[in-house]
Structure formats: structure tokens, C-alpha cells
Amino acid sequence: MSISDIKKEFPIFNNKIHNNDLVYLDSANSSQKPQSVINRVNEFYTNEFSNTGRSVHYLAVAATNLYENTRSSVQKYINAKDKNEIVFTKGATEAINLVANTFGQKYLEQGDEILITELEHHSNYVPWHFLRQSKGIKIEFAEINEDSEITLESIEKKINSKTKLIAITHLSNVTGAVLPVKEITELAHSKGIAVLVDGCQGAPHLRLDMQDIDCDFYAISCHKMYGPTGLGVLYAKKKWLEQLPPYQGGGGMINDVKKDSITYGDLPNKYEAGTMATAQVIAFDQSIKFLEKIGIESMIKHEQELIEYGQEILKRNNSVKLIGNPKNRAAVLSFTIEGVHPHDIATILDEDGVAIRAGHHCCQILHDKLGISASARASLGVYNTKEDLDQLNSSINNCKKIFNL
């Protein structure tokens, strides 16, 4: 599929917003959905619906096969070694909570440390905070440098003999900084420390190779990856999934249930209690097919051209201040305009059909560090074009005009 045809795959772009074409620059929040994904949800409910894994009738067997097909597609897409290393969750948030609960329960004791970074989204901080409260563990923050990057050195500085887990984002949802997760994992493993990567922003924009990164856990948000809401993926190395206790108890995750004892099911069932988001899982297969059809290399090249173009025009626009200056940046441009609050920017841009996000983007720690209460964020999807960024720039100019800047 050529890049110029991509927008046509997304029916939302047929709509007008305040009589203008939609310029959607909020994909870091959630991406739009291609027609094939939307159709797949409809088709499954219309002609193929059944619960998975429980009954022997025709529809149940077919649904189970479709559900497991997606697991195989995800395994292939992220190059995991084993299909059973893919656990479906209700989102990346649940994926991280799953690890915090099970790993925390079994391996963490009072005084142990978890190392995160100042770039983390609240979903990669709050679950660890729960352990700080319940088990008395400590949370350390690796600090950003003047370009708002997290380097290997800033991680190394905070590691000590108490560090049990490093939990880091792959790609910052505020600065767009790409973290050296492979190098960080190598360093952590050399000291016997496990690594969790929050891949919410990394998964939709970067090449994913679990065996190459070698991290222990990787959390994915499917709705940011052109897939349905209510679905996430936890990749975890098989040794962990075998060793860790189950997360939620219920149907489907058990092996044998007696009045005085219960044994748990094999992988991946052990971590998928209750009826799962079946239609979403089945439709997510189409999201992966969509990405494969474009080709990861073409997608990365296209988005890299866009991010460089976006940086260039915003840097040229005086009164716009970009947040962070990471050498390796992808998909996200956050900014402030001197004299205009981000919420006013977002409201004015919306009038032109330009959808951005304003606020702290669930990263209060980072905003506090930068000394600002909020920022405006334009984030890219594979459907965006240079024209979208030109419109962003001209709407920013309109905003400056309204505020007499």
C-alpha cells in the first residue's frame, strides 16, 4: 500500500469537523481505526460469534481458532520466541498491573527498589506506588538530561544492589524520546535485574523484536496500534509466566478445582481468567495485517520524515517552544506557546478541525520537572501527511493572532 493511500483506509477522515477536514494529531492518545478492523468486529458478531475455549460446537471451535490466530500473529509481529508468551489483557495498564501484582507478590520485599524514569506515564508509576504502600518498596527515578532524554548512564547511576526491576517507556508520550531499551536491558541483566518496557507508544511506531531487546516484560496498548479499545498485550518471557502466580482468578484459568485445593491452567490460560475481549482480539489481527501491508520499514521512514518536517516548521515558528530535544525522536511533538495556555491552544486548533491534546498527558512528574503545568501535544499516526503539519502550523499562527502575539 502506498503511503498516500493510507488515509483512504480510515473512514473517519470522510467526516468534517466544524466544516473542516479532520487533521488528527492525537494518535498517542488513541489511533483511528482502518475499515478492515471495524468490519472485522461487525463480521464476527454478525456471522461468527461464540465464546472461545469452552464449548465443542462448530462456532466455539471456529472462534477459538480465530482468537488463537491473533496470538500467533502478535507473536510473529513482535518476534517472541513462544506463542504462549503473549497474554491478552484489557489494556497496557492492566498488563503493567499484572506484572506489578504478580512479580511484586512473589519477588519484592520491603526495601527493594524499582527503577523507573521521569518520563513515565502514570500507568508505569501508579502500579509500583501500590507496592510502595503495601510492601514498603522504594521507587527511584532516573533523571532526564537537558534534552529530556533518558540515557544508559542516567539509568546506571540509579542502579544499586537493592534494584529488582527496571520499568521504562520505549518511547516517551510527551517528548517523543526513544529510549535505548536494548542497552538498558543488557545492563540490567548483567546485574540480575528484570526489565519491563512500557510499549504503549513504542509498539505503534517502532520495529518490535522481543528476542533482540531481550526484555522480560513488554506492555502493548492495542487501541493505539490501529486496533480496538479494551485490549492490550503483555509479552512476558515464558520463565516468568511459569514462575509467577496467577493474576486474576476465575473461569478458564484453572486446571482442577476441589473444595480444598485448586490447580491452575497451563499458559496462556493461567493469565486469561473469564471471558476475554474476544471480538477485539479477533479484530486486532486485522490491525497487524494492516501494519504488515504498509510494511514496518515504510511506516518508520514515513513517520520519520514527518517528525523531522514537524520539528523543522515548529522550530521556525517563533513563540513556539518544543519540549525536549531528543536525538532519537519519534511520533510525538509537544510544545508550549509563550502567552497562550495549552487548553486555549487546543480549543482554537479544534475550530480548524485540528485535534491535539492539551494537559499533562498523564506525565505530571515530567511536567513538574520541566516547571510547566501543561503542554500541547501533536502526535502522529501512519495516516498523517506533511499537509496535516502545515495545517497545524497555520492554526498555531491563527491562535497567536487571536491572542495578539
Binding site: 487548553h343 480549543t347 482554537i348 503545568s373 487571536i402
Partner: protein, 156 residues
């Protein structure tokens, strides 16, 4: 609805140069309000005299043009009014932002009503209503001495 009806000159001017953005000395009532979704925060200080008349009112905080302008206009307007009048004006304002086409309060002069109606543009922007009403809810909390922080996510 044109965006310029929301961002009228008077709002931009008050947003840029908010009146009473300071802390009243010897204040006897105060309250804090926050909008956790956008990080806006306001701290309202009141000094009521023995007749429960607003001798001074001021605020500290940061936020968007709408929230700063709203707090600025509010403090300007209620200075010198009696507590009961203030409460009635706040309810009138909140009613106007919510549903009423105009202000009904007998405690407001025509020019004061005109000034307040400049904020009526937010009615068309449901996501921004909280910006305009935060300081007003906080003022009521200060008067009532509720000691509770106003949180826009917990308001009806």
C-alpha cells in the same frame, strides 16, 4: 459559533492582566480549587468585615485564559458586596453558564451583567465550562468554610 466569541477582547485582556492576582493580607476565609484533568488551580482569599461585606478578595493560581479571566472578573465584581448577595450572584452565574439564557440577579448592575455575559461563550464548549466555573465554586467553598478542596471532577 465563532471562536472569537469565546475569546473576546475583554477575556483576553483579563486573562493576560488578571485583576486581584495576589494574596489578601489578613484574609479570614479561603479555599483551594483544582481541575485535575488539566492542572488548573486557584486559591481564593476573602476578607469579610463585621457586617459580612467583602472588604477584599484576591486569588492566586494558574490556568488557561478562560479560567484566569473568569477569576479576575469575578473578584472585580464581588468586591464590596455582602455575603448573601455574593452567594446569589454566584448561583446566577453558574445557572447562566449551565442553562439560563441570561443573568437574573437583582444584585448586579447592567454593566456588570454585560461583563459577565462575555463568559457565556463557553456554553458552546462543554469541555471548557469547568475552566470558567472553577473559581466560582471555590469562592462558595471559601464562604461556606467547607475546608474541602474543590475538585472539578467531583462537581455535578
Amino acid at each position: 459559533m465563532n471562536i472569537k466569541e469565546l475569546y473576546q477582547e475583554i477575556i483576553l485582556e483579563h486573562g493576560k492582566n488578571p485583576r486581584n492576582l495576589r494574596k489578601t493580607e489578613n484574609f479570614n476565609k479561603d479555599a483551594v480549587g483544582k481541575n485535575p484533568l488539566c492542572g488548573d488551580n486557584v486559591h481564593v482569599f476573602l476578607k469579610l468585615d463585621e457586617n459580612k461585606k467583602v472588604e477584599d478578595i484576591s486569588f492566586e493560581g494558574s490556568g488557561c485564559a478562560i479560567s484566569m479571566a473568569s477569576a479576575s472578573i469575578m473578584t472585580d465584581l464581588i468586591k464590596g458586596k455582602e455575603e448573601a448577595e455574593v452567594k446569589e450572584i454566584v448561583n446566577d452565574f453558574l445557572g447562566m453558564i449551565k442553562e439560563n439564557p441570561e443573568l437574573k440577579s437583582k444584585n448586579l448592575e447592567e454593566d456588570e451583567k454585560t461583563k459577565l455575559m462575555c463568559l457565556s461563550g463557553v456554553k458552546q464548549y462543554p469541555m471548557r465550562v469547568k475552566c470558567a466555573t472553577l473559581s466560582w465554586h471555590t469562592l462558595i467553598s471559601a464562604i461556606d468554610n467547607t475546608q474541602e478542596e474543590i475538585n472539578t471532577e467531583q462537581l455535578g
